[in-house]
């Protein structure tokens, strides 16, 4: 359902520590880490036959695991 591939494109909208926080080394009430998952949109839909072969109905989510970074 959800993919993480959009991360690079979405990075700018992810909240980050302010430089003041970074400089002061503040770690008190701030979060340690935050996961971000972009919302999927309804596009690039496979035919039922292609979907079963790919393991997903959504072309965006067709991300076969390739050991070695997909090279």
């Amino acid at each position: 359902m959800f993919g993480g591939r959009g991360m690079a494109d979405q990075r700018r909208s992810v909240p980050t520590f302010s430089s003041r926080q970074a400089q002061s080394g503040a770690v008190g009430p701030t979060v340690l880490a935050m996961a971000y998952v972009p919302s999927q949109s309804f596009k690039n839909i496979y035919s039922p036959s292609d979907a079963l072969g790919a393991g997903t109905l959504f072309a965006e989510l067709n991300m076969p695991y390739c050991a070695g970074g997909g090279k």
């Binding site: 999927q40 309804f42 839909i45 039922p48 036959s49 979907a51 997903t56 109905l57 959504f58």
Partner: protein, 91 residues
């Protein structure tokens, strides 16, 4: 009259179509769970729902019930009459 082999091929092809459209509907269901307002997804789900219904009806009519709830009992107990999935004739 169709020979046994081509009947078997047609039966498998029809069953494959049912499997494929069922998977597409599973995927659409997951999408709609998180995007219930998507009119496009809902329209495709409805389209596939009708198609799947027709395919299952056709299969059941031609080759017998896929679900035991749909067993035809007009001429007695037919569920166990067809070859079992592990028998050559069933594949």
């Amino acid at each position: 009259m169709m020979n046994g082999q081509s009947r078997q091929n047609e039966k498998s092809a029809l069953f494959s179509e049912i499997t494929e459209i069922s998977f597409a509907m599973d995927e659409l269901r997951l999408y709609l769970d998180t995007h219930p307002q998507s009119a496009e997804a809902l329209a495709l789900f409805t389209e596939y729902q009708d198609k799947r219904h027709a395919l299952v009806a056709e299969y059941t009519e031609k080759y017998g019930a896929i679900y035991s709830y749909k067993i035809n009992t007009e001429n007695g107990w037919s569920w166990a009459a067809a070859p079992m999935p592990w028998e050559t004739e069933a594949n």
